[in-house]
């Protein structure tokens, strides 16, 4: 199966830190075009193209821009969320290190659309080697007149400031990210107000994922119709997928939206490594865990959502039968409870209690009553936590309970699991 490279078109072909090199392959032409357009028209193109956010939630990109566009303010911001924190996910890393100018260009176009003159890139702290690449690339883009004052001779000013995170997963949540840039504890804000009206430093802000922004230049250049010809009707375009876990060929691949999970797993990645397929988790730790009967699944935003999971950032964790689903969930919960910001009751307390309950199950001491408590608590977390981190904590738990009921039952009432093992309990 052939990949389709729209976002990865320049991978390995240009000098990533050199804006001129990017320009030699058609870079910043889309920006040039956007600079002569009205903001509303740029937003209209993105609306027609049907671009949806690639960070996890799949929110229509044009709407985010529209909200910020509609809000009157002396200052507006574009923020690039490069805090790629979802475990196992590496797709933004590829774009950031191989084609940073495509992101800058996307940001500049979005900035022109809403009338922003300043952008921020919030870079994951665990990507320290990307920092110098971005610094050099930003400087090169300024030298080439693509950033800074009077970009591309248009009279429009736009520049980008680079910020590094400090290792908190929750800072990938947009409002926690704002708090972090502002120098505060990385805690999500309640909403509304939404970032489009009151975001970074209280100003209208459009925040987008790296991959989303990288989609914008090709859309502007080739048009909405072209874009819609790729992918599926509800999710046009291509998607970067990070395939990881027990699979023969791991990596970041680009396919049109709607590609079948089964094809990625077997045709592209050479099947399961070291055993038989036990489960797949899509969308990172906050995604659903599905069983082998469920993998004939078109990977676009709505299809995956309809199956109870989420496409999220497009991460595919392949799990072989040397693992135990309860153990995997335990691992997920350990991650979420330690990454909870601690602000809201639901996530702070609930995350740890869920983890404790699952540990109880995995150690063979659990009962049916514990399963009931887990379901009740997870359902409360899914609907009443303050931010997405709390809501997501419940997803692997509830999906695995649904898709692997017999596995849970096997652990109850003193029964031993050879994989979880009593000694690996808490």
């Amino acid at each position: 199966m052939e990949e389709m490279h729209v976002l990865l078109r320049n991978r390995g072909k240009i000098i990533p830190t050199d804006a001129k090199s990017y320009m030699s392959v058609g870079g910043y032409v889309a920006l040039k075009k956007a600079l002569s357009m009205e903001g509303a028209d740029i937003i209209q193109v993105l609306k027609d193209a049907g671009l949806r956010g690639r960070g996890g939630a799949g929110f229509p990109t044009y709407l985010k821009l529209q909200f910020a566009y509609n809000t009157e303010s002396d200052e507006k911001y574009i923020v690039c969320n490069a805090d790629e924190g979802e475990p196992g996910t590496n797709k933004d890393r590829v774009l950031l290190s191989e084609d940073p100018n495509s992101i800058f260009e996307g940001m500049a176009i979005a900035a022109k659309a809403i009338g922003a003159h300043k952008g921020f890139i919030y870079l994951r702290s665990e990507y320290p080697y990307i920092r110098p690449i971005l610094i050099e690339a930003l400087e090169s883009a300024r030298q080439a007149g693509c950033l800074g004052k009077n970009i591309l001779g248009s009279g429009y000013d736009f520049d980008i400031e680079l910020h590094s995170g400090a290792g908190a997963y929750v800072c990938g949540e947009e409002t926690a990210l704002f708090e972090s840039i502002e120098g505060n504890r990385g805690e999500p804000r309640y909403r509304p107000p939404y970032p489009g009206t009151k975001g970074l430093f209280g100003k209208p802000t459009a925040l987008n994922n790296v991959e989303t922004l990288a989609n914008i230049p090709p859309i502007l250049l080739n048009g909405a119709e072209w874009y819609r010809s790729i992918g599926s009707p509800n999710s046009p375009g291509t998607k970067l997928f990070t395939v990881c876990g027990n699979v023969n060929k791991r990596g970041v691949f680009e396919f049109p939206m709607g590609v079948n999970l089964k094809d990625i797993l077997y045709d592209v990645c050479g099947g399961v490594a070291d055993g038989e397929l036990l489960a797949v988790q899509t969308g990172g730790s906050s995604g659903a865990i599905i069983n082998p009967d469920q993998i004939d699944l078109p990977l676009d935003i709505d299809h995956v959502s309809a199956s109870g999971g989420r496409l999220g950032c497009g991460t595919i964790l392949v799990i072989n039968d040397k693992n135990c689903v309860v153990d995997i969930v335990k691992n997920n919960l350990d991650f979420f409870r330690s990454e909870s910001c601690g602000q809201c009751t639901t996530c702070r307390e609930g995350g740890t209690r869920l983890y404790e309950l699952i540990c109880h199950i995995s150690s063979g001491k659990g009962t049916l009553k514990d399963i009931e408590t887990i379901k009740d608590l997870a359902n409360t977390m899914r609907v009443s936590a303050l931010c997405g981190l709390g809501h997501s904590t419940a997803v692997p738990v509830l999906s695995s309970l649904q898709n692997f009921e017999e596995v849970y039952n096997r652990h109850l009432d003193g029964n031993d699991c050879s994989i979880c093992g009593h000694d690996r309990g808490y």
Binding site: C344, D376, V383
Partner: protein
């Protein structure tokens, strides 16, 4: 206005109000926990969850604004279950010793547990944080194990007071509110104002309890001589369940006599004494080129704040002691002599609206009588607890006047508890002393009210006296900045640490601005009712100068009624 439906009831409410506010207009009480009417919306406890039609998630009523056509359900099984589940999580991480907790019966978590009908054993093992109780401060007691992380104290201390004693540390389940570098409270810049205690919904922050010390003294054979601060008489009844603003000086004295206090004096007297000393000091500074503006020094929270954050400005502080400490020095000297008792046999007790007064008592400077001038300072809340414990039916008590010779106070002393009150009292006296003429009007309404900064210019015989009044330490900090920059173009500034002044103090019953305003009204009402409304006309004041002190600012007055300050900058490092 927008049209919304709450629980089937159609309503018109102003656009932009929250679901919580809208529901209240329809007599629907959505339960809350982190929400506080005087504070910013926090939206973290998730107790006020409600359903909004068309939304997958429950929304927090405290923060979610209504919109046209919104359909809200506040008590569906899903909503009630989510509330109970979140509350259960909090309870499982909270000590279970409610029956012997200082907040028992006044705890918002406890009330919520009743309201939500939590009647089943917790499904989780109870875990507490295992922190030691921090009883190091003479003013407040901290039990971090009881904290539910609403962060009201953080806002009160960091934003309202800009002291910065509390902040959050760690993440997730390990999150905790701590002092800088985990120091004991006594070693932090905490000024002891108790505004954190005022907003803490649970037993994590409480007033340092000194009631046991009183009981000990009651059987120890000492003469218990008490002074009662002006604002106590407008808050004690409230602390015992009556309406905010209820005035009850007579019943208060009766109750204290029943408790076994031998002498109950009125701190209005020493407030008047403060006005005499402070007023003459101001005149002296104006006439003889002293440091101006002069700033009041009766508030111990403010004094410690200035000592800690701005020691270079200490020469602006009036050297006059606070009314509490003036009275303390007078009781163990003048009064002891007059009553023919040995000062060492006196236990001097103050009843205050204030937690910081407990710290003030311990300042080594305040031993001018040869003993610790005030031995124990109790808050209104502690006194109310003693009254309750003694089975006294406060509501039905007859009235008893304060004891002589310090039972008479002026209206000027009476309003010391209100922001602007000290200023107004001082102006009444300073005007008449300078001009020798009677004031045409007694009420300086320019310095009344709850605005953060109040200013006035008073023409005193051609001298334009410029004054300013600030309350809450964030406003005091702004004022200090102006003083430092030489831009505080005033002669006299009144500063009170607590928002609203002493009637909003850390030792008063749980405050809200609504209640504080009722207390303020009561203080001004009392002032109006009193026959004497100027400090210098108080006969007890005339008497003590004639018999004992000589004149304001005399050597004796200096020895007993004035003090000095130290830098506490080291508390910041």
């Amino acid at each position: 206005m927008v049209n919304i439906t709450i629980d089937g009831q159609k309503l018109q409410v102003p656009e932009g109000v929250t679901i919580l506010e809208a529901a209240r207009t329809a007599n629907i009480n959505i339960p809350t926990l982190c929400y506080h009417e005087d504070q910013k919306i926090k939206s973290v406890c998730r107790i006020c969850a409600v359903e909004v039609e068309g939304q997958r998630l429950l929304q927090a009523a405290c923060s979610y604004p209504v919109a046209e056509g919104m359909v809200i359900r506040t008590s569906t099984p899903t909503v009630l279950n989510a509330r109970k589940n979140n509350l259960e999580l909090l309870l499982a991480h909270h000590p279970q010793d409610c029956l012997v907790c200082g907040k028992n019966g006044r705890c918002e978590l406890q009330k919520l547990t009743q309201d939500l009908n939590m009647n089943k054993p917790l499904r989780y093992e109870v875990e507490t944080r295992g922190f030691p109780i921090d009883d190091s401060s003479p003013c407040i007691t901290r039990d971090p194990n009881k904290c539910i992380l609403c962060t009201r104290c953080v806002e009160a201390c960091n934003e309202v007071q800009t002291v910065g004693t509390f902040s959050k540390q760690n993440r997730g389940y390990e999150t905790v509110v701590v002092t800088p570098y985990d120091k004991k409270t006594v070693d932090t810049p905490c000024v002891g104002c108790g505004q954190c205690v005022q907003v803490c919904p649970v037993g994590a922050l409480t007033i340092h309890d000194d009631t046991d010390r009183i009981y000990k003294e009651l059987v120890g054979g000492k003469i218990l001589v008490a002074q009662v601060a002006p604002s106590v008489r407008v808050t004690i009844a409230e602390a015992l369940g009556e309406d905010p603003g209820t005035i009850s000086p007579g019943r208060l004295v009766t109750a204290m006599k029943k408790l076994g206090f031998h002498q109950v004096f009125d701190s209005d007297f020493s407030a008047d004494l403060t006005i005499m000393e402070e007023g003459y000091e101001l005149l002296d500074r104006i006439k003889n080129g002293g440091t101006l503006p002069m700033i009041t020094s009766c508030c111990p929270g403010w004094v410690k704040f200035c000592e800690t954050f701005s020691p270079k400005e200490l020469d602006h502080l009036s050297s006059a002691k606070s009314p509490q400490q003036m009275f303390g020095a007078v009781i163990k000297t003048y009064y002891a002599e007059k009553a023919g008792v040995d000062p060492k046999d006196i236990c001097s007790i103050s009843i205050m609206p204030c937690t910081a007064k407990k710290f003030e008592c311990l300042r080594p400077e305040f031993h001018d009588s040869g003993y610790q001038d005030v031995d124990i300072s109790l808050t209104v809340v502690e006194l109310a607890n003693m009254i309750k414990a003694a089975g006294i039916n406060f509501k039905e008590l007859e009235e008893t006047p304060f004891d002589t010779p310090f039972g008479l106070g002026s209206g000027a002393g009476e309003i010391f508890g209100a922001t602007g009150g000290v200023m107004e009292a001082a102006l009444r006296t300073v005007y008449e002393v300078i001009t020798g003429k009677e004031l045409p009007r007694l009420d300086f309404t320019e310095v009344r009210g709850v605005e953060g900064l109040k200013e006035a210019v008073i023409d005193i015989d051609g001298l334009e006296v410029k004054v300013a009044v600030v309350h809450s330490l964030s406003n005091a900090r702004d004022m200090l900045r102006k003083v430092r920059a030489g831009k505080a173009d005033y002669h006299f500034i009144e500063v009170m640490a607590c928002p609203g002044g002493c009637v909003g103090g850390g030792g008063t019953p749980v405050r809200s601005w609504k209640k504080v305003k009722a207390r303020l009204d009561a203080a001004y009402e009392l002032d109006k009712q009193l026959p004497i409304r100027k400090s210098h006309e108080n006969p007890a004041i005339k008497e003590i100068y004639a018999e004992f002190l000589g004149e304001p600012l005399s050597e004796k007055a200096h020895h007993l009624l004035h003090t000095s300050y130290i830098s506490r900058k080291d508390l910041l490092s």
